[in-house]
Symmetry: C2
Subunit: 281 residues, 2 copies
């Protein structure tokens, strides 16, 4: 028997991979959660019928969402990750010796539980003594902070369902307030090929709040189109001039060279960050 | 009725897109050729069950395989494209005012014919007076030249079937001889996620022939993994220090910034270009 997982990445585009076994499939309070053992990508976490992470390519997303902001900041001590229940971002944050506390706010405890059970290499640092795990709504959680974090990382699912409000201005305003005076925010912001309008909106919303806003890219085969974007809002430091003297060495994607290279945008992508950009322009 | 095109990108990974209509499907002397009208990518050229080009994302591949070498060279006059029967590479070559002659050597005349019929925007420059189209085997063709071309572009299909010998050392040696004393070669060299061994081989073969060899990347959603590589062998000019004062402006991917950024390789990719790299190292 052949078993295939298929995902409609858009109504007209389907991604399918052959499955060895279904390791877990359940409905949490927030979403449908499945863990599949695939031939191509190893174990794969699927939330609400969308691939979130796989053993084969998780390193790209996790290294790039973490090391770009943490190497931009000269000495990140207080880091907050919103979403990211698989623990992959926390694992990368914990590589930084400057970090005193890494707080993970994941709304869905069953994501953390599934990652601990099925993805030991991704969830490896969840028990690091510097890590504090909370199961709460990130939007609510961050409201009570001001001048508290060096870096906030938004490692969310798609902007539909539980993560919708993580792409809205009120949330970004809360993040701005929760950041220290030289803090910075990074948020995953989907694919420039598939979600151009979303990127444009996120960039505009961040520009209205942060003194400087950037977009950078990484290649992630299991995400729609294979090209993924990250939006960065910063109060002081310029990500093109990274300040941290610590550079993680045990990486497979991130390097000082790729840190800068990731901000070299194809023309159709840099157009999305232009102040006057609008659909069709 | 729903019609879907499905492609096994690997034995365990399938790419599918919804099809409005099959515009053409035939067996040529060399391969199966199909033109599909898809909802997601517009018209799509499929050769031997592999997507070659689509209206939506062809600009990435064609701009990147052409402008990187042509902007590296200070004044490219004689350009040879091997393969590339759709005409997309030739269209980009013709944007360069320095070019005196652009020769297209495509083994399969029916690819050129299909492109003229179904992809008018891709094949737009095939009738440029500087363009010379030949239907011949590129490996045979190039053997009769020495000191003749400024840039040779290998815009081939996968290294199985008609294009196999375009990835071998004897062919690269012929290209080296056919290039002028300051000429350079670019060849598409597949995906670092899916075809790491091939990239390693191509890099090693080029290194044995050219004084300097490089690898650069571009994001192409309809190709396996979405990340694609190009291998460059050069006799004199350094692609990181492009010499051409002409920079094409009517591009959607290429820019001076992306020219340099494309050579910023993720660590797992730069490992493929290291002299001591081998599977598992």
């Amino acid at each position: 028997m052949e078993l295939w997982y298929s995902e409609l990445q858009t109504p007209n585009l389907k991604f399918s991979c052959k499955v060895r076994a279904t390791l877990c499939r359940l409905q949490t309070t927030y979403q449908e959660l499945a863990v599949l053992d695939t031939f191509e990508f190893g174990k794969m976490l699927v939330l609400d019928e969308m691939v979130q992470t796989t053993e084969l390519d998780e390193f790209v997303y996790h290294e790039m969402i973490v090391h770009v902001p943490l190497c931009t900041h000269p000495y990140p001590e207080e880091v907050l990750v919103i979403g990211g229940g698989d623990g992959g971002a926390i694992r990368e944050v914990c590589k930084h010796p400057s970090v005193k506390r890494a707080t993970l706010v994941e709304i869905d405890s069953q994501v953390v539980q599934a990652s601990r059970q099925f993805f030991p290499r991704i969830s490896a640092s969840l028990d690091d003594p510097r890590v504090n795990i909370l199961h709460a709504d990130g939007v609510e959680y961050i409201r009570s902070f001001s001048d508290a974090f060096d870096v906030v990382i938004v490692d969310s699912t798609e902007p539909i369902g539980p993560a919708e409000s993580l792409f809205q201005s009120p949330f970004y305003q809360s993040v701005y307030r929760a950041l220290k005076q030289d803090g910075l925010l990074v948020a995953q912001s989907e694919s420039p090929f598939v979600n151009a309008d979303l990127i444009r909106s996120v960039q505009e919303r961040l520009k209205a709040i942060f003194p400087a806003t950037y977009l950078y890219l990484a290649s992630i085969p299991t995400y729609p189109s294979g090209l993924w974007s990250f939006s960065l809002g910063t109060k002081r430091y310029n990500p093109l001039d990274p300040q941290n003297t610590f550079i993680p060495r045990d990486t497979r994607y991130y390097s000082s060279q790729i840190h800068r290279g990731a901000f070299s945008l194809p023309r159709f992508v840099s157009d999305l960050t232009a102040p006057d950009s609008s659909p069709g322009s």
